[in-house]
């Protein structure tokens, strides 16, 4: 029996993909609204759990992130390092190659740096040592990226699982060497490498030990923007990402692009490892990458793979992290609380993308329909 128009129950609302897209200002309005909503929910959660005035809590958060000169530098350093890893994964993401192995690539690059500092520290003149360290970390990262890329290009293996597994291998290798090179022996940690001689430590600019890292990453950001936007490589990456068949049709060697891009991506992760080990930490442990390899995925996505937007997204994430950690110290809460706050805010930020890409249409209220 054929249904009449009235018998069809129209749902209260339905979701429609925005085909044309919305103007940029509207998209930003949605994003800002989502952050505001997130702060509101966080305020409610905070009041429920702690009874503190939410305004005080937000003040504490801002103080925690940028309250002192040292915190600002610390924030900048963390933004720079997160941004560096995010920039590294972005070319692969643009190619729709889901490289979630940045954590391992950073660690392996860092380990290469650390081993140069430990094994060659006293044998090579400093400039040569830097060259070797630089080459070793980039190659190590690149190789860690190349392995899954080769298998993907050759046999179309699943790069997500492959790169993920490579993380664990890298972590275990770092654990192994932390044990071999532990200092003092038995502590299971390498400690500060070349503490007295400072051999293999990247130089500091003036009195600011983080400035070099920040400047390197700033330069890298501009470079990556140009590379992806204006270079032939960048174009090839975009085409392969859109459609491999199209790429083949217009004569792009897809395998070569995949391998080349992952080599590049891995090498940049290796560079991040170098900056972390030689530039700031002067040691290596399983925690050196600090989860940045995974957070970078979010930074890159939220910024829609645009290197300039990534400055903003990595800043937001690090700001939240630092601020939230201050809340737990100030109000005597467990560290988990700061993770709850960060989680809520990130949830809303990601959620806002949904409303930017889709619109919600409510059913038009006709008397007949509603009565049924």
């Amino acid at each position: 029996m054929a249904k009449t128009e009235k018998q069809k129950q129209e749902p209260l609302f339905h979701i429609v993909k925005r085909i044309i897209g919305i103007p940029t200002w509207q998209a930003w309005l949605i994003r800002i609204a989502s952050v505001a909503a997130a702060l509101l929910v966080c305020a409610v959660v905070t009041v429920m759990l702690t009874g503190e005035n939410p305004l005080n809590v937000y003040k504490t958060m801002i103080e925690g992130a940028i309250g002192t000169e040292r915190r600002i530098w610390n924030l900048m350093q963390n933004v720079a390092m997160l941004l560096c890893v995010s920039l590294a994964v972005t070319p692969a993401f643009r190619m729709r190659f889901w490289n979630i192995g940045a954590e391992g690539q950073v660690l392996i690059g860092g380990l290469a740096t650390a081993s140069c500092m430990i094994l060659l520290g006293n044998r090579l003149p400093t400039p040569l040592l830097f060259v070797v360290m630089f080459a070793a970390s980039l190659i190590a990262g690149a190789v860690w990226g190349l392995i899954p890329a080769f298998f993907k290009a050759q046999w179309n293996t699943n790069e997500t699982l492959f790169t993920l597994m490579m993380n664990y291998i890298a972590i275990q290798i770092v654990s192994y060497f932390s044990y071999i090179w532990s200092n003092p022996k038995g502590s299971g940690a390498i400690g500060v490498i070349n503490l007295n001689t400072q051999v293999g430590w990247l130089p500091t600019i003036g009195s600011q030990k983080y400035l070099l890292n920040i400047l390197v990453v700033a330069a890298l950001t501009v470079f990556m923007f140009i590379y992806l936007r204006f270079s032939k490589h960048g174009y090839e990456i975009a085409v392969v990402g859109e459609s491999e068949n199209t790429a083949r049709y217009i004569g792009i060697n897809v395998r070569r692009v995949i391998i080349r891009t992952m080599l590049f991506s891995g090498a940049l992760c290796g560079l991040a490892g170098l900056l972390l080990v030689s530039g700031t930490d002067h040691t290596i442990s399983r925690a050196t990458a600090g989860g940045r390899g995974f957070t970078a995925i979010m930074v890159s996505w939220l910024a829609k793979f645009n290197p300039l937007y990534m400055i903003l997204t990595s800043f937001i994430l690090v700001f939240l992290q630092k601020g939230a950690s201050e809340i737990s110290t100030q109000f005597g809460l467990n560290d988990a609380f700061s993770e709850i706050i960060t989680g809520i805010i990130i949830f809303f930020i990601i959620g806002s993308e949904f409303f930017i890409n889709y619109s919600i249409r409510f059913r038009e209220s006709k008397k007949g329909v509603q009565a049924k």
Partner: protein
């Protein structure tokens, strides 16, 4: 519009980079003002103390510090700043520096691996006191504001060993095994001085009441590995050990003992609730006396000891309640007796007349007191007929392999 946002983002980033680069020179003046403030701190209530902990309350090791910090500070009417989950890396230095910025006069860190970063911070902020538990470098760094602390936990282990020896005697008398079969097992984390000092004092305590006792030690190579500790305990039990003790942080060994019905002398706090049928007694370090001491030192403008190590007489080492269901009769009395002798100095844990190395009594031994990578022996530690543990520095350095104890493996 798109272009404008991008330019704005770029501009902001550059402004941040250079804006903060420009304000680097103010630091020294603020440090000077802080130094004056420190001198002005007249009483304990004005002292601000910050704590750096490797993990949070979920780790029994850190919980012991956190509870002590809260207790000591509450008694003195001050509010501690506690930073948890601070890894043993650059993050530790950053946290220490941040605590200084908050106005802390004392910064304390609880984990061995924090030491290098604490020293780095101590060099940068000479007006702030940096105290570090379990570290070994304070006496060689020669920094007036960097201090190590530990407790004479070997005294606690010695007393706990007495309880173990008495239990063995009771089982021998009950005919469960002969005196020659009295063998104990010990699950250790790593084969280095802190653990060696611990199991040797435990063994000597047991031997002081049960002369025929021997001991086997199995190492796990981790401070916290429940499975490995359980396996090590099970291996020792199958080797014929009649009683176990451990120096590692999980419940692996105590629960293995409970399953097998083997008496256990625990560490770091009572395990009686999980092991009611086998738990005898446990020793632990109480940090409240140390925290009270350093806060008072700063409040009164006194110097903090470079190496601080107090024991059972000062309340820095404590024994838990004895589980009378398992412990032998008269254990409490015997422990009290030994405790009094330790306090007045008539009893020494590492008395060289009570142990031999390769069949010979020792009259001289150089230990690795000044830390280096290769454990170079550098300091004479046998004086007045005893090995002077924790005297030359706070962290343990007793690393002799004495007769009667067999190491089944070694883990570094």
């Amino acid at each position: 519009m798109k272009k404008v946002t991008k330019l704005l983002a770029l501009f902001l980033a550059l402004a941040l980079v250079f804006g903060f680069a420009a304000c680097g020179s103010k630091e020294s003046t603020t440090n000077e003002t802080k130094a004056n403030e420190t001198e002005a701190a007249a009483n304990a209530a004005e002292v601000k103390i910050g704590f750096i902990c490797l993990h949070d309350e979920n780790s029994t090791y850190d919980l012991n510090f956190i509870n002590a910090a809260k207790e000591a500070c509450a008694a003195l009417g001050i509010d501690p700043v506690i930073k948890t989950n601070v890894p043993e890396g650059n993050e530790c230095y950053e946290t220490a520096a941040d605590l200084v910025d908050r106005g802390c006069n004392i910064v304390f860190a609880d984990s061995f691996g924090h030491e290098q970063y604490m020293i780095q911070a101590a060099k940068e902020f000479p007006e702030v006191q940096f105290c570090h538990a379990t570290g070994t470098r304070a006496h060689t760094e020669n920094l007036p504001n960097y201090h190590n602390a530990f407790a004479s936990i070997y005294e606690g282990r010695f007393l706990a060993g007495i309880a173990a020896g008495l239990k063995l005697n009771e089982m021998i008398e009950a005919g469960q095994f002969t005196a020659d079969e009295a063998k104990m097992g010990y699950v250790g984390a790593y084969t280095y001085a802190e653990v060696i000092s611990g199991y040797t004092s435990f063994y000597l305590g047991a031997k002081s009441v049960c002369p025929s006792v021997t001991m086997e030690v199995q190492f796990t190579g981790s401070w916290y590995d429940e499975t490995a500790e359980k396996e090590a305990a099970t291996k020792l039990i199958s080797n014929g050990c009649k009683l176990l003790s451990q120096h590692a942080d999980s419940m692996g060994a105590p629960t293995a003992c409970e399953t097998a019905g083997i008496p256990d002398v625990s560490y770091n706090g009572s395990t009686v609730s999980a092991c009611p049928k086998t738990f005898i007694v446990s020793s632990k370090i109480d940090w409240v006396p140390y925290f009270t001491y350093i806060i008072n030192c700063v409040a009164n403008g006194q110097t903090i000891d470079t190496d601080w190590c107090k024991g059972i007489a000062d309340g820095s080492v404590k024994l838990t309640d004895i589980n009378t269901d398992v412990a032998a009769a008269g254990t409490a009395e015997k422990i009290e007796e030994a405790k009094a002798k330790l306090a007045d100095g008539s009893l020494k844990v590492f008395d060289t007349s009570t142990f031999t190395v390769d069949g010979k009594a020792l009259d001289s031994y150089k230990a690795d007191v000044d830390t280096d990578d290769k454990y170079t022996p550098d300091t004479e530690v046998i004086e007045n007929g005893a090995f002077n543990e924790s005297v030359k520095r706070s962290a343990p350095y007793f690393d002799l392999r004495i007769d009667g104890i067999t190491l089944l493996n070694e883990k570094f």
